[in-house]
């Protein structure tokens, strides 16, 4: 069904099923306004659609993947639950207003176009995935999950609530990321602003897991029988016991290429190894215990310092929830409380 009006053109389609659909927009070189409406129809309105030249009379317009079967410069195909739209027209002012029902998630995929996009999404309560090169993205009244990747431009997101359905990831190569989250929502943030700063008025509690494995524990000596005992910190992550670093162990040599070590044992260290073996309970033979212990002194440090390299800050809002990774290599991050 095609409706034409004086300055804009419309296309409408009805979704026959109650299932969850995904609307995928590929290579559409136009600005987009996407919002939710009740019902089971997708309504697309085009503004400033470039005129069809007279020479094209009688010819079919083609889009990047097929024929323009909507009359508004878009090819549309529905296969199972996937509604694929691909674009054909280009125009500086070209804009599509898309209204979708609540059971539709969105994928916008236009990574290769130079266009400075203006994308506006509003009221979407399903997953949103956007990949563009340049442009600004504004999302309002959404729940997520949100997955965004841009090269250049700002991203503004206002959550009405934070969906716990699955992790989120917002990555800009260059641009600011501004996210508003209602105070009471649960989330675990992983934030990284290279060449930039992070600002927030939310009560985010920084998490420092795995740091204790950096060798903070003690030992003590029983003067009667020269045994060594381990005492570990309360929160020592035993599941990932990869490293036991004992400062009093004499000299420790590490051969990084081979991954392990020679170390000079001190008197009584057989008991020490014995204990390490017993403590772990994994090894039957003393010989293996030595290897395990030696290995655990090796440089497995990336495991513990990884947090510092991928993200500047990892923190929990309201004791944590779904993971939201926010990364900009060149810009600032703003995390705000929503208005109550």
């Amino acid at each position: 069904m095609v409706l034409t009006t004086a300055f804009s053109q419309q296309y409408k389609t009805t979704l026959s099923d109650k299932r969850d659909y995904t609307l995928r927009l590929t290579d559409i070189e136009a600005d987009l306004n996407i919002s939710k409406i009740a019902g089971n129809e997708i309504l697309i309105q085009a503004t400033s659609l470039p005129e069809t030249p007279a020479k094209a009379k009688g010819l079919r317009p083609l889009t990047k993947t097929g024929v323009d079967n909507t009359g508004i410069g878009i090819n549309m195909e529905i296969v199972e639950n996937m509604i694929s739209l691909s674009g054909g027209k280009t125009g500086e002012n070209l804009k599509y207003d898309i209204k979708i029902p609540g059971n539709v998630s969105i994928i916008i995929n236009s990574p290769s176009y130079d266009r400075l996009y203006e994308l506006n999404l509003s009221g979407i309560s399903k997953e949103v995935e956007i990949v563009i090169s340049r442009g600004n993205i504004i999302m309002d009244n959404i729940t997520g999950p949100v997955i965004v990747r841009t090269d250049k431009g700002n991203v503004d997101i206002v959550f009405s609530e934070v969906s716990q359905e699955g992790p989120m990831s917002i990555i800009c190569q260059s641009g600011d990321i501004d996210i508003t989250v209602p105070e009471k929502e649960k989330a675990t943030f992983k934030l990284s602003a290279g060449n930039g700063d992070i600002y927030t008025d939310l009560d985010i509690k920084e998490t420092k897991d795995d740091f204790h494995s950096f060798g903070s524990f003690g030992y003590s000596v029983n003067p009667d029988n020269q045994k060594y005992y381990f005492k570990f910190d309360k929160d020592f992550p035993m599941n990932n016991l990869n490293e036991i670093y004992i400062p009093e162990m004499g000299s420790i040599e590490v051969d990084k290429d081979k991954g392990v070590l020679k170390f000079e044992k001190k008197q009584g260290s057989e008991e020490l190894l014995d204990l390490a073996k017993k403590y772990e309970g994994k090894l039957d033979e003393y010989k293996n215990a030595e290897k395990f212990y030696a290995k655990s002194l090796a440089f497995s440090h990336p495991l513990y310092f990884y947090d510092f390299f991928f993200y500047d800050l990892k923190g929990e809002l309201n004791d944590g929830g779904v993971e939201i990774a926010v990364k900009t290599e060149n810009g600032n991050i703003y995390l705000r409380k929503g208005n109550p």
């Binding site: 420092k208 740091f211 950096f214 060798g215 903070s216 910190d233 670093y245 400062p247």
Partner: protein, 186 residues
Amino acid sequence: MNPIPGLMTDEKIMTDVSQGELDGAKILYSRYHIKIYNFFLRLIFNREVSLDLMQNVFYRLIKYRKSWKNDHAFVPWIFKICRNEYNDYLKKEVRYIRNAVDIEEIKESSAGIIIDPIQSEKVKNLHNALANISPEHRKILLLSKYMKLKNKEIAEILDSNENAVKGMIFRAMCKLREVYFKLDKI
């Protein structure tokens, strides 16, 4: 990185750390963590908290490694971090309480390690005296007498100047002497 850790200065290691080579952080840890732990321990008299603070210092060392400049001296720099940790702890003091059990235990442990009974007694007295002066005085004395830092270094750590530091040490020592020997107020 030089494969023989013993030959590397703290400053050289920290420079490497600031540029991404975190292996060195372990060497710095092994060189300083006991001293820093003891500094906090004798300042706050709480083992659990001191352990926490000491760990935080090294956490910050790694996290803020990029704020390290090559022309700094390492010891004042890491003690500035200690000072910041201590100040943050003070703000939350309602959570951390001076642990009376720990005060006794630290005293006994310190004295217990020393074989000569006269010296052992002296250490007990010092411990008691330290426990009875203000944290501010205690802090400056620990920096000067326990960590053996120079006035210049202490001035840098406290964002002050050498003369002021001299004055602080003087007043703190007077107080300590008074308490140590149970003198009447001078």
